[in-house]
């Protein structure tokens, strides 16, 4: 038999609550207790509102460039919901909802985009890493963090987030290869939102799924409807169980959509059709949970109105905390450079506004006679 099949495989796709309100009882029943579902819905509503507020802050000159999360909330939220509080959550920059669920004070995110490093000064007990601006690089850090847990024989794992664009970077492949070959318990969560700024997903991956890339590394993998909080939670439970029981990595492709621009510096109307965006608006992760809860008697219009008021008040308070912080002193960018500042840097810091060159001004103002 000269020709045999070396590999035959398939990629599972999980959808539990679809945009038409269809709910798969076999997978979905008991998956998220009612009280938790209400909480998750409220988390998404707050995140969405903060996105709107942040957009307006940028437009009115009160904040720098900001990347909206709109439409993708269920992905990081479902992950944070399933992870243990001490599992590492290693994100890029569109995971606000999961980070808030973990306990990150939302004003930290605003501060970051307001050009203030204090937004990255995060309580270490939260086990989250700061916003990663370079694409895909944080995947290797997650692998290292999970590796450290494995080395210490802890049960903690890591979960890292990245977009479809990141799957083109070398670091993506290196992280996956390390984790698979060195048996490291890390969950790789790709938010496939279809667009890397203006570049469509097919330029990043011409295979039918991103999930199948994991197969090449010998890694278990699954695709889910990333706009379906139930599907995300289901896949995360599989992934975390696999990572904890077998000490192995797991890949999840959450198929989702970036409803907003890449950032406030972008204008997506330049490169994508409004019909496509409209199609995905119909698949909004928040709307479907609301309709589901209403159908189950967990939610009604008066609760919705109360929530709207609550998120309005909360986001106003968040903005107030972010804007109310005292202005940073310019010594701030010196003091965190090293555990102990080298003398030369101390001198630059002390003389930063009194001398043009960061040297001891006494040398300049009382010069020796000119030579030459």
């Amino acid at each position: 038999m000269p020709i045999t099949t070396a590999l035959s495989t398939e990629i599972k796709r999980i959808s539990i609550l679809d945009e038409h309100g269809q709910f798969d009882e076999s997978l979905g029943k008991g998956l998220i207790p009612d009280a938790d579902l209400v909480r998750l819905y409220e988390d998404m509503a707050l995140c969405r509102k903060l996105d709107e507020v942040a957009f307006k802050l940028q437009r009115s000159g009160r904040m720098g460039t900001y990347p909206q999360n709109m439409g993708q909330e269920a992905n990081s939220l479902g992950a944070a919901y399933v992870l243990n509080q001490d599992d590492w959550l290693v994100t890029c920059y569109r995971e606000n909802c999961g980070l808030f669920h973990r306990g990150l004070p939302p004003e930290k995110i605003l501060l970051h985009w307001m050009g203030d490093e204090r937004g990255n000064h995060i309580d270490p007990n939260l086990c989250v890493t700061p916003i990663a601006v370079p694409i895909g690089t944080q995947m290797l850090h997650a692998t290292g963090l999970a590796w450290a847990s494995k080395y210490r024989k802890e049960s903690r794992i890591a979960c890292t987030f990245f977009g479809d664009g990141a799957t083109s970077e070398g670091d993506f492949h290196e992280a996956m290869n390390f984790a698979a070959n060195l048996d490291i318990p890390v969950v790789f969560f790709c938010q496939n939102n279809h667009w890397a700024i203006s570049v469509p997903g097919r330029i990043q991956c011409s295979a039918p799924t991103v999930a199948q890339r994991a197969l090449a590394y010998g890694m278990d993998t699954i695709q889910c409807d990333g706009n379906d909080i139930f599907a995300v939670v289901h896949c995360m439970k599989e992934a975390t169980a696999h990572a904890r029981e077998h000490g192995r990595p797991y890949f999840i492709e959450g198929v989702t959509y970036r409803l907003g621009d890449h950032t406030t510096a972008d204008d997506a109307r330049r490169y994508r059709d409004e019909e496509e965006v409209e199609l995905w608006r119909q698949r909004d992760p928040i709307t479907r949970v609301r309709e589901f809860m209403k159908a189950r008697g967990l939610w009604d219009d008066s609760k919705e109105a109360a929530l709207a008021e609550k998120v309005e008040t909360e986001t106003a308070a968040i903005v107030q905390r972010a804007e109310g912080i005292e202005a940073p002193d310019s010594s701030d960018f010196f003091t965190s450079m090293f555990a102990e500042l080298p003398e030369d840097l101390q001198l630059q810091m002390r003389t930063r506004r009194t001398s043009s060159i960061g040297e001891d001004p006494s040398q300049i103002t009382t010069p020796e006679p000119a030579r030459g």
């Binding site: 720098g64 460039t65 050009g115 370079p134 890397a196 701030d332 043009s356 060159i357 010069p367 000119a370």
Partner: protein, 322 residues
């Protein structure tokens, strides 16, 4: 003549070279349909087609690595790295291959490519969108490093890079992308790599700078009311030491201004050359006004980091008083 911004001048240079030479192709993230995140390549994909203005996968090493292959294959690729902070993944390809291929093969294979990179701070951008890493590439033998400070220069220098037989890094200072307009000839012209521009002549002191800092220097000179000669290097490797030497021998004093961190910055090299060539003409130590040896802060504090007219004016006064 048209009154153009730096962005428009670069766009015009690309259009003219692409019309003239079908070996010139552009590649990078968002350079096609979107015209680049700064709109530098606006309209070029429509004009020249998607096979000459190519939206690539999101992979900086891939962009530069394939551009090296395209160049060795006889084309004149112009890859764009979206922000200088994303040069990291491309560093290996730039320094291990683009810079070395000619020497490695003793001229058998050459890499005529121009890497366009928006550079520097001052635009309220997020982290890794505001750095000034030019010294790293000046310090890598085998690369030509260019940084214009005006629309007119940008067009002439970019055309020079595009026609150069060796790899060039063309740094575009974002802070002045649209800060002012300048008369830019419609006709093509080349400004030679390695030639500085004397922005204004003076007798008391020489200031050497490049990129967006040139604008801060002009403000400081005006503020000082002194007779100061301002030299915009325009190209950093090779750089026009003759122009610096002639000026410093005339004035006897020199201040060097750059955004990049002071230690290991290119200002140190210029100061050393002045010591070598002008030692007996110096009336004062050569001073540097530079970024501090810290990570470029996020935007709330970026103006405290970047050399501004006040700091430069202080250096002018100190140097004059010496």
């Amino acid at each position: 003549m048209a009154n153009l911004t730096l962005v428009q001048a670069i766009n015009l240079a690309l259009v003219q070279e692409m019309e003239k030479d079908d070996r010139v192709i552009l590649l990078g993230e968002d350079v096609g349909l979107n015209g680049g995140v700064f709109r530098v390549t606006e309209g070029l994909q429509k004009r020249f087609g998607a096979d000459r203005v190519v939206d690539t996968p999101l992979a900086e090493s891939g962009i530069i690595g394939t551009a090296i292959g395209l160049a060795m294959g006889g084309l004149r690729p112009v890859p764009e790295i979206q922000f200088e902070g994303f040069l990291g993944p491309a560093y290996d390809q730039i320094c291990s291959h683009a810079a070395r291929m000619r020497t490695r093969t003793r001229g058998g294979l050459t890499v005529p490519l121009t890497i366009r990179v928006p550079v520097g701070g001052g635009i309220h951008a997020p982290e890794l969108h505001s750095d000034s890493p030019e010294a790293i590439y000046i310090h890598t033998p085998g690369l030509k490093v260019v940084m214009p400070s005006s629309p007119y220069d940008a067009k002439g220098l970019l055309i020079a890079c595009l026609r150069d037989p060796d790899p060039c890094i063309f740094f575009e200072p974002k802070r002045i992308y649209r800060a002012f307009r300048e008369e830019v000839p419609e006709d093509e012209y080349v400004l030679p790599i390695g030639k500085a521009r004397t922005v204004c002549e003076g007798e008391e002191m020489t200031i050497v700078s490049w990129g967006a800092s040139v604008v801060q220097c002009m403000q400081a000179i005006e503020k000082s009311g002194r007779s100061i000669e301002l030299i915009d290097l325009r190209t950093l490797y090779p750089f026009d030491m003759d122009a610096v030497e002639t000026s410093v021998k005339k004035t006897g004093r020199c201040v060097i201004v750059h955004e990049a961190p002071k230690t290991g910055g290119f200002g140190g090299e210029i100061a050393a050359r002045i010591m070598e060539r002008c030692f007996l003409h110096l009336e004062a130590p050569v001073q540097r006004v530079a970024g501090f040896d810290t990570i470029m802060p996020y935007y709330k504090l970026e103006l405290d980091y970047l050399p501004d007219a006040d700091r430069i004016a202080k250096a002018i006064d100190e140097t004059a008083a010496y």
